[in-house]
Each structure stands twice: as C-alpha cells, then as structure tokens.
C-alpha cells in the first residue's frame, strides 16, 4: 500500500532582545555558567516577574510576518512541571489565548509554492541547562538560559514530506532573520523544534495517530527524524500493528528514536492564568505600527526579483536566502533604478553579488557590513564595466583593492592604468602592429585554423597592457583577417 506522511512542527525560537523576558539580566549566549542570573530568573522565593515589552513586540512582528491575526488582549499562563533546570517548577507561557494565531507561510519546493498553516505563536520563557561533569557525581545546572525569551510557532499538520518540512523550517528561519528577532544560530540552540509525524494510506482523509519527537536539534536532523519515524510507522502498519499516540526521543547520532512516554503517561501541566502578571494589552495603533515595520519578506522578494527585475528563479532564491547579500543587492538596484541605468541591469548586479561578492564572503567568512564595500562602490564598478570604461578583469582588480581598504575607484584606475582603450584609431594601430608581427598566425587562420584568432586578440590585449577593449580588438582583427 502507498502511504502519505503527515508532518506538523512546533518551532521554538529564542528572541534576540537585549534582556530576558521577566528580569533585567542580559540575554546572551555562551557566557560563563551562572553569571547572567538574578533572584528573579532563578525563581528565588518572593521574587516576581515583570514582562519585557520588547518580547511582545517581537512576537507580534512574527505574527504579522506569518499572516496571523493578533490577539492584542491576551494573558500569560503557568505550565507546571518539576525539573531541576526549571527553578520555579513552572514555565510562564500562554495556553488558551496565544498572542498570534490563524496564520500561514508559503514555502517553495522544486519551483512549486505551497501554503502551510500556522496554528499559533505564543511567548514563553526558556529553562536552564543541565550539565554533566565527570569531576562531580551528579548533575549541575546552568541557569543563564532561564528566562531567555522564546516564541513557539505551531504549524498545522500541512506538510507531506521531510523535504516540505525542511523548506518550511528554512522559510521560518529566513523570516526570523529578515525581521531580525532571532539570531537563528542552530548550533547555539536558538531554534529548536519538536516534530509531529503520522502516516495514512494515500487517498485517506483521516489522520493517523500522531507521534511527537523531541530532541530534534537541526533542520537536517528534522528531515532524518521525519523519514525515520514515517518508515517506522509504515512498517508497523504493514505488520498489522497499531500506532500509539506517544512521545519519542530522537537520537540523531544513532539515527533512531526511542519511546519517551505513552499517552497515558502524558504530563498534566495544570495550566492556569499567571497571577503575578497582568493582562497583555497592545494598543491597536501599536499593532499596526509593528506591521509597518515588517520589511519585504523572502517570498515576496523572490517573486519581485523574477517578475520585475528579470532574474532567474535560482538567482533570485540565492540572493534572497542571505540577508546581507539581498540588502546589498536591493540597495544597488535602488541606486541604479529598478530597470537599471542605461547599462547597469539588475542581472549585471546579481552576477556580481552572487559572483565575486559571495565568493569573497565565503572565503573570508566576513559579513558585508564588516568590509569597506557598499552599494555605491559596487554600482560604480559594474557601471564602469558596462560602459566599457574598464574591462571585467580590471573590475575584479578594483574590487580587491576596495576590500583591502582602498575605496577611491578613480584613483585606482589612474594609479593602475586600468582605463580601457576604446578609441578606434588607437586600437587600430595596436592591431596593425600585432598582425604585422605575427604573419604566421594570420596565415594559420586563413588556412582554416580559426583558433589563431584568440591568440591574435590576446596579443593585442597584451600589447595594450590590458587596456584595449577586447571586443573592439576582436572586431578589428576579424575585419582584417576576413578582409
């Protein structure tokens, strides 16, 4: 029998606010254990939380970016459970009234667009981290992460494969980056997800029993976990077994999952309204203001790049997937005009952004913002090339000079003598000299060895110290050879 895989995801993203959600401790990763803590985030008796308003703003932005309706009046609730990394023994979260709900994102997979529903987005606090140390028998707790603000983004069970799940995760990640509310550093755990998987016979409209998987720490791990779990369920069904609603733990190293708890053992979190905090109220004007803060999002960008700027789908996606890259590109397009100056087209710009600029970033690991390059400089290089003032090779030389801190392009051209010779009479003289000195090659060409043309043009370029316009040279050489 053929089966269909159903996937729903719960994504936790740490927000990059300056301070924690309920106290003034710094929200920072990787600092010495138990240094970013205070009596509030470590839940000392008598302490009280006060809500960091930025957290609400960030979450509302994410709600807007994922087409959610915003519950501008909502509350926070306590989720009660015992664990040593949770010093209050409850997590402040939101239960029945999330800040954002009923949204969607569109994902692209193999050129096809698909809409994935967003059930809800709510705010909550992160827990600490358990540490295990050989020198100490037992467990230690680092509370630095306690109170780091999180949003939990819950999807509808709308994905039908691990590839769709991956595309959904990539889309969420780029949105989070675009609206700049999360660092999105997987290796630091700033995005984590729980995966819900079920399978059903193809064509069936009823959902199968759902299995939740915890401990999925990377997007690629999510794909492996989904594929593994779907296969496990299909094999069980094929054996005539039933699928149980349960929670399993993904072990990415071994590539298997193990039973964590069955439905019967499910924890009762005893949610109730957090009495230490008052109702969250975001004035409607503020909700609108936050909406206006949302920049053009990746999907819209890709569509515009293809439809308006005439880029290929693949180039559009490549530019849009990297925020610094697409910021540079957008600025260049803005400077040169949407349809380009006479000679600088978005395509020319995209070639540079995806070519030399990307190559430099990849090789050096630097961010564009950390280099002397800006949109004006890049536009000027491209414009100089396209107006044939300099050659493409000279463009690369200038680019390197800029990256080394020398941003006076005119001076570079003068100092290095990079100005291209396009004057017909000057080039004609060079061509005549070269042809006279290379009679053998001229004969070869006329005898049918057409690759002699390249050699002759090369000699002209050499004689001009690279300053001659190569197209012009070629044109004149051909005119002579064929004449």
């Amino acid at each position: 029998m053929e089966y269909e895989t159903i996937v729903g995801l719960e994504v936790h993203a740490e927000l990059n606010t300056k301070t924690k959600i309920y106290c003034n401790c710094k929200n920072a990763f990787g600092l010495e254990v138990n240094t970013q803590i205070c009596p509030i985030c470590t839940g000392m008796p008598g302490t009280l939380p006060t809500l960091n308003e930025k957290v609400v703003e960030y979450a509302v932005k994410m709600g807007h970016a994922t087409n959610c309706s915003i519950n501008n009046v909502c509350k926070q609730d306590r989720k009660n459970y015992f664990y040593p990394d949770l010093p209050k023994a409850y997590q402040i979260s939101q239960s029945d009234i999330p800040l954002c709900e009923h949204g969607y994102v569109d994902i692209m997979l193999n050129g096809e667009e698909k809409r994935i529903g967003i059930t809800r987005i709510h705010i909550e606090e992160d827990a600490g981290k358990m540490l295990h140390n050989d020198a100490f028998q037992g467990s230690l707790v680092d509370f630095n992460r306690c109170g780091v603000p999180l949003i939990e983004i819950v999807s509808e069970p709308d994905m039908r494969s691990s590839a769709e799940a991956k595309a959904y995760l990539d889309t969420l990640k780029s949105i989070l980056q675009y609206i700049d509310i999360s660092d999105c550093k997987m290796e630091q755990g700033s995005i984590r997800c729980d995966v819900n998987v079920s399978v059903r016979p193809k064509g069936s409209t009823e959902f199968g029993k759902r299995v939740e998987m915890k401990n999925v720490n990377s997007f690629s791990g999510a794909m492996r976990a989904i594929d593994y779990e779907a296969n496990r369920q299909i094999e069980a069904l094929e054996r005539g077994e039933e699928i149980n609603q349960e929670t399993r733990r993904w072990d990415d190293q071994k590539g298997v999952n193990v039973l964590l708890r069955t439905k019967e053992d499910a924890q009762d979190y005893r949610y109730f309204p957090e009495p230490d905090l008052t109702t969250i109220y975001v004035p409607l004007e503020k909700v609108e203001e936050l909406k206006n803060d949302i920049p053009e999002l990746p999907n819209a960008k890709i569509k515009r790049y293809v439809k308006v700027l005439g880029l290929s789908q693949i180039d559009a996606e490549l530019i849009a997937e990297n925020l610094p890259r697409c910021r540079l590109f957008d600025e260049c397009v803005k400077i040169c005009g949407y349809f380009g100056k006479d000679s600088v087209s978005p395509k020319n710009l995209s070639n540079w952004v995806l070519g030399d600029v990307s190559k430099y970033m990849n090789e050096t690991g630097k961010d564009i913002a950390d280099t002397p390059l800006d949109a004006n400089l890049l536009c000027k290089i491209v414009e100089l090339i396209e107006t044939k003032v300099i050659s493409n090779t000279s463009g690369k030389v200038i680019f390197e000079e800029i990256m080394n801190g020398n941003t006076d392009i005119d001076k570079i051209i003068e100092d290095k003598g990079l100005r291209q010779i396009s004057d017909d009479s000057a080039i004609e003289k060079i061509v005549n000299d070269v042809l006279a000195a290379n009679q053998k090659s001229v004969d070869d060409y006329r005898g049918g060895k057409t690759n002699a043309l390249g050699f002759l043009v090369g000699q002209c370029m050499k004689a001009s110290k690279g300053q001659a316009n190569p197209a012009k040279c070629k044109e004149l050489v051909l005119k002579y050879l064929n004449g």
Binding site: M44, G46, T50, A89, D276, L277, T278
Partner: protein, 483 residues
C-alpha cells in the same frame, strides 16, 4: 511606665523631643521579648545585636539629619517577608536554613525609614492557617489567654504587638491572616488594597490574594506604618501606579454623615451572638456620633469560603512547587533518583496543612476538573466583586465582625480542617475582591477581644483608618497585655 508600653506615635514624639533614645526603646522591647516570649512564642528569630546597633546608628543620626517619624522605632517582621541576610523560614522545615540574598520591597522601605528590626515573627507554615499552630518551629499563644491561639496566619505579628514585645509589626493577609489575629489579640490590623503594597519579596502563598499590611496597638501607629510601606513598585506587575497621601496627618475621628453598610450575611448563622452584639454596639456608638446605618446585601458570601479555598490552594500548589530541594532549603538525606529526591524532600519538608492545600490545589487544576472548580471559583469571585460594587453605591464602609467568634483554644480545631477554615468566613471576601479592610478592637466577650472589621472601596484606606480611629476614640488604644 516602661518604654515598650508606649505606642509608636508617642515614642516618635519622645524621640524627637529627646526624652529617650532609640537604643533605650529597643532595649526595653528586647527585654520585654526576653521576658514574655517563652510564654507567648511570637518570635522565631530575635536580632538583638543588629537591632541595638541600628538603634545606636539612628540615635547618632538624630539632630544631624531629618529623620522619618518612625526612625528608631522597633518593628517585628512576619517570617515570610524576605530580609536580606536574615533567616526567612516561613515557619517551615522546608526553609529552616534559608537566608534571602535580597530585601523585600517593604523591607527597603522599612530600612529607608530607619526603623529597627527586632526579629522575625512566627506564623502558620507558608501563611496557611488560622491559629499559628501550623508553624514547624513553635506554637504562639494569645497574650490575653495563653491557652488560646493568637489567630493566624500572622499570629506572631499580632501576639508580639499585643504583648509589647514589638511596638508595631508587619504581617501578610491572604484570607484574613492580618485581621483575624488582630481581632483575636486585641490590636489593630490593616489589610491594604491589593496592589497598594508591593508583594516583591513576600514568599507567595496565593499571588492574587496576598497583601502585606501593618499591625499596631493604635490606629495612628497602623496608619504611620502603612504610609511607610505603600507605594508603587515596578518590580511587582500587580502594583498600582498611584500616589498616596499622608494617612496619619489626615486621621480624623469625625463620622458625621459616614454611611456604614451592615450586610446581614455577616451577622447570620455561624457567627457568635455575643460577638455580633459587641460589634453592633460599637456601630451604634458611631451612629450616635452622626454615622448613618444602611442595610446591604452580599448574597454571594455563602460561596466565598469555597471559592477562596479553591483559588488560594490552586495558586499555592504552583507557588510552592519551587521548594524542591534543588537549590536551597531542606533536601532529604537519602534518595535514589531525582523523583525520589523530590518526593522525599517535599513529604518531609512540608507540614500536613501545606500538603493538604497543595493536594487540593493540584486537584482543582488538573485537566478535567479545572472548569468545575477553578473556573467556577473565578466566576464566584466576579459575583463577589459585583456585589461589593453595588453595596458601595449605598454606603462608604461596611462593618462586620472580623471573626465569627473570639480566639479558640489551642488544639481545639486542629483535627478538623473545615472547622478551622470556617474561622475565615468574615475575611476571605475582601481578598477575593482585592479590597482594603481593617480590624479594630471594639470590646471583649468573656475577657477575650473582639475585632470590628471595616471594609472599604479600593484605595479607601483613609476612610477605613478614620472609621477605626472613631472606634478607638470610644474604646481606647490597646496597651500591652501582662502575661
């Protein structure tokens, strides 16, 4: 007359007139504590050395700086209010060794006013109880009759003031825990409007009901202490952002035109006849002085106890979950794993009454029961608020007995929790509605004090203090009891 016998406002005057020193007052109060506390058992921790040191500091400051009227006056603090560097046990084995790393908001105020903290006062464990018999460490006795309870949960705070081992004190009131012991011990106790005194640093019992308040042997002392501790605190999200007058300066015993509401539900079955008569006599005395008596109805009162015990226990089950043996306080000695550690620590660390409330609260929040209990209790709370609102359309204050009977004997109710809970019948509605209320002595029944409770609109503490002041003018200020 010994110095400990004077009221705070008298002592304040004597200090400013240099008729005595703070050191002398403090010494007198500490001596009184040493002489009486073996019988009364009000103190859990006496800080003799620190108190005398502070008193000497204030004496030195006097004349050089303008001091707060209560500067140099000794004060006792209920042991659930966090005091930096000073044991704060909540009268529980669970926190037998807990020393807070920070001061509660009210302690910052008390310290800023240069008051002299003589020690921490006994209470029912985690403020759960009506007799102070639930303390892990000791029982407190009513100075009026050592065989009787002082009431609870702030029994130590009331008994110390009644016995003269404290001039004034701080307690907390979640369902009557200030007013009931004030009534039983014949002193004045004010439960302020929810939100007028910051809860930051008060070890939480039921967050939506808890409020810190003052005890004194006179209304003036109570008003002076309330003026110190009230005020906005941005560390408490439920703290009201408003200005407060100088309650002492505005004290006025003129009740001409004051409309006093008499709700029949507080004078019905379950309330001792002689207590009713004593309270009504006092009200009639006020009527003679120009007050007007208005009959009002508060029919939801009959559901109040049930609603109170559901809401307070629900919140308590969550608030007390943090006492898990991980970070501070008591931890069981022998355990096999994490769950075993939790179970043994909490079984051994909490007393019976606390465990009873945690179990009750856990039950009412469990899935499947939430709607039937917690949600319904919250609906009752709404009705109670509505009825108070409409009652205050007809009157300025509501007068009721503070307790249905005078102090009962130690051990009398300990085996019957529901009988013990019934002692809260006159006080819980006030916490449910977040209103202020004061208990002021208005006579005696069988040599035991009776308290008259005035309930007011939110933030109407001045009217309550003035009404109580009028009663006090009739019956006189309390004097320390010989024990």
């Amino acid at each position: 007359m010994e110095l400990y016998e004077y009221s705070a406002h008298k002592l304040s005057k004597m200090l400013s007139e240099k008729k005595c020193s703070s050191e002398e007052i403090t010494k007198s109060v500490l001596d009184r504590a040493a002489a009486t506390d073996e019988k009364v058992g009000a103190y859990l921790t006496v800080c003799e050395e620190n108190a005398l040191k502070k008193a000497r500091e204030v004496d030195e400051k006097r004349g050089r700086e303008t001091l707060h009227p209560l500067a140099g006056i000794p004060i006792g603090i209920k042991d659930n209010i966090s005091t930096k560097g000073l044991l704060t046990t909540c009268a529980s084995k669970m926190l037998y060794n807990y020393v807070p790393p920070f001061d509660a908001f009210v302690m910052k105020k008390v310290n800023a006013a240069d008051m002299v903290v003589t020690g921490k006062l006994n209470m029912d464990e985690f403020a759960m109880g009506s007799s102070t018999e639930n303390s892990y460490f000791k029982k407190t006795h009513n100075p009026h009759n050592l065989d009787c309870v002082p009431g609870g949960s702030s029994g130590g705070s009331a008994a110390a003031v009644a016995a003269g081992s404290a001039v004034i004190s701080l307690g907390s009131d979640t369902g009557g825990s200030i007013r009931m012991p004030a009534s039983y011990c014949g002193v004045v106790g004010l439960k302020p409007t929810y939100g007028s005194v910051s809860r930051y640093g008060l070890v939480a019992f039921a967050s939506s009901l808890d409020q810190i308040g003052p005890f004194g042997r006179s209304v003036t002392d109570t008003a002076m202490l309330y003026s110190v501790i009230c005020g906005h605190d941005n560390m408490d999200a439920t703290s009201a952002d408003r200005e407060y007058p100088d309650f002492t300066a505005l004290l006025n015993s003129d009740v001409k035109g004051l409309k006093i509401g008499i709700p029949e539900e507080y004078y019905g079955e379950g309330v001792d006849n002689s207590v009713k008569e004593t309270v009504m006599n006092a009200v009639k005395e006020l009527e003679k002085r120009g007050a007007e008596i208005v009959n009002i109805l508060l029919p939801s009162t009959k559901y109040a106890l049930n609603a109170y015990y559901i809401i307070s226990s629900a919140e308590a089950s969550s608030n007390l979950a943090r006492f898990d043996g991980v970070k501070y306080g008591y931890r069981t000695e022998n355990f096999t794993d994490l769950t075993d550690m939790y179970e043994k620590t909490r079984s051994e660390g909490f007393g019976d009454e606390v465990k009873r409330r945690i179990m009750l609260g856990t039950f009412v929040l469990s899935s499947g029961f939430f709607d039937a209990y917690y949600k319904k209790a919250k609906l009752v709370a709404l009705d109670i608020v509505k009825e108070f609102n409409s009652a205050f359309g007809k009157c300025d204050v509501i007068a009721t007995p503070a307790t249905p009977a005078t102090a009962f004997r130690l051990g009398e109710n300990i085996g019957d929790p529901t009988k013990m809970y019934a002692a809260d019948i006159c006080t819980v509605t006030v916490n449910i509605a977040g209103l202020p209320a004061i208990s002021v002595p208005c006579g005696k029944v069988n040599d035991m004090p009776v308290g008259l409770q005035f309930i007011g609109r939110k933030f109407s503490e001045q009217i309550l203090l003035n009404s109580a002041f009028a009663v006090e003018n009739i019956f006189g200020e309390s004097k320390p009891i010989n024990v």
